[in-house]
């Protein structure tokens, strides 16, 4: 019999609806911990694992990384002193009413490796949040911003209007979907959804992006490298032609590709 306790998060404590986000497993002097977003041999958690939580928490998903370290530290510091671990877990409500640990439960199992038992219990009580629908452009975009951690960076702003003086009598105004300004580095970002987009709307959006980035580069605000267009994969040749036009003035990143977050982060930092 293996003892375990489930770590729960209450997005709305008044509703008392818990989301299981992790598990701590005890077996004699051994303690194992696993939570959503933890990746083996990777220091930083994958915060997108928490994107199923209500939007109000999305700009602070990085805090779950602090909690993961907190639980890891608890298991490590106490060196298998289960009584001490239970004592600290029982006091968790003092940290925040949003985090809770259930009472001990027991799992009847025979495993050669305790980590296998941990994985099984985690899968059983926490699992991976199921996808309710195929991700659309906005879902990919949100995951990209969380994965790159730009969503948590105060230097990353959305919906920025820029007024540029081109000449004594000429002022240009353009809008960037996102703007990143840190340590004298400026990055401008536009989003353009290609799939399921109507051609007429696409013409307008692409022309607007080209105008915005050309103007930003003319006034030395951005470079071609720091002018970014986030797109999804073009579904046909005609839409791929829009990508070629955009690539003439900007760096185009396909947000459905796994390397998108790294690419975006490399430009921003």
């Amino acid at each position: 019999m293996i003892e375990y306790r489930i770590i729960q998060f209450f997005p709305q404590p008044e509703r008392a609806e818990a989301k299981n986000i992790g598990v701590i497993v005890f077996d004699e002097g051994w303690v194992g911990f696993k939570a959503l977003g933890m990746i083996e041999r990777v220091d930083k958690p994958d915060y997108t694992a928490y994107s199923f939580l209500p939007k109000v928490y999305h700009d602070s998903l990085w805090v779950f990384g602090e909690w993961i370290r907190w639980f890891q530290s608890l298991c490590r510091d106490t060196e298998g002193n289960n009584e001490h671990i239970h004592g600290e877990l029982n006091q968790l409500a003092l940290h925040s009413p949003l985090f809770h640990v259930t009472d001990s439960a027991y799992f009847n199992t025979q495993f050669e490796r305790r980590n296998d038992a941990l994985d099984l219990i985690f899968l059983d009580v926490v699992g991976t949040p199921t996808k309710t629908k195929e991700p659309v452009f906005e879902d990919h975009l949100e995951k990209l911003l969380i994965k790159s951690e730009l969503a948590f960076d105060p230097a990353f702003e959305s919906g920025i209007e820029v007024t540029a003086t081109l000449d004594i009598n000429e002022v240009a105004v353009f809008i960037l979907d996102y703007f990143y300004a840190k340590n004298e580095k400026l990055v401008g970002i536009k989003n353009i959804r290609l799939q399921k987009a109507q051609y007429k709307a696409l013409d307008t959006k692409v022309n607007d992006a080209i105008y915005a980035f050309t103007t930003a580069q003319n006034i030395n605000m951005l470079t071609k490298n720091t002018s970014i267009v986030l797109i999804d994969t073009p579904p046909n040749q005609r839409k791929a032609a829009y990508v070629s036009r955009l690539q003439a003035v900007a760096t185009v990143i396909d947000i459905t590709k796994p390397e998108a977050a790294t690419k975006l982060l490399n430009i921003c930092t």
């Binding site: 530290s73 985090f99 951690e149 948590f152």
Partner: protein, 239 residues
């Protein structure tokens, strides 16, 4: 660090016309009230908050409120991050002092000044996300009019060169220069500022104006002797 913002619970219709667009709203807070185990905690929290604000020590904000016949201290709920941080762990203080050297030094001097021997864990710090620096102390119920002593004795202790904050998680982890700088900042504060932090002009629950004045006297003395107290007790710091 960004200025701390607090959680808005509700916004109402515009209150009146004006260039500031005044609008009624409510903010979230945690109410603390005096009890048997901590009979002067409300006064303690108010004074600690006043001192922290006056000298810019990183401390959670709070306000006095009166939900019934007694005053309570409403500790305002911090809005960002919307997911609450865990309290700091024992093993994390070294990293916290490295990441927030100035704030840690400020907190040591502050806790020596108010005689706070209960800093352990009463601190929220972000350690693993460089883009969101947070360092915020809270809970000062075990300082000033310390609940373990009769009121006059607690004040008398503050009026001596006793360290009171005998244990502190940042002892030995802060730079001597910063410790000295913060000590000087406290010492350079005018007496009247410290008095204004302590004296409410009326009785606050069980703490009357005479007790408040006595505490002010003790803290003014303690301020003037802060460097001596720190040196006498050999608070360890990094040279």
């Amino acid at each position: 660090m960004d200025k701390t913002t607090y959680t808005l619970r509700r916004m109402y219709k515009k209150a009146a016309k004006g260039i500031t667009n005044p609008q009624f709203c409510t903010v979230n807070a945690v109410l603390k009230s005096d009890g048997i185990e901590s009979p002067q905690c409300v006064y303690n929290e108010v004074v600690a908050t006043n001192i922290a604000q006056t000298l810019h020590v990183p401390n959670a904000m709070g306000v006095l409120t009166k939900p019934n016949s007694e005053h309570c201290f409403a500790s305002l709920e911090i809005a960002k991050p919307s997911t609450p941080l865990p309290n700091i762990r024992k093993g994390w203080f070294t990293d916290a002092a490295k990441l927030y050297p100035d704030q840690a030094a400020a907190l040591v001097v502050f806790d020596v000044f108010i005689g706070n021997n209960d800093r352990y864990q009463n601190l929220k710090v972000s350690l693993f996300n460089e883009n969101n620096p947070i360092f915020c102390a809270f809970d000062h119920s075990h300082s000033l009019l310390h609940p373990y002593y009769p009121t006059d004795e607690a004040i008398a202790l503050l009026h001596t060169d006793e360290l009171l904050a005998k244990q502190h998680p940042f002892y030995g982890l802060i730079e001597c220069q910063r410790l000295n700088d913060w000590c000087l900042r406290f010492m350079e504060a005018s007496d009247y500022l410290i008095r204004e932090c302590c004296e409410m002009g009326h009785t606050l629950n069980t703490v009357n104006v005479i007790t408040q004045r006595k505490l002010a006297d003790a803290l003014v003395w303690r301020k003037d002797n802060l460097q001596h107290i720190i040196k006498k007790h050999g608070i360890q710091c990094i040279k």
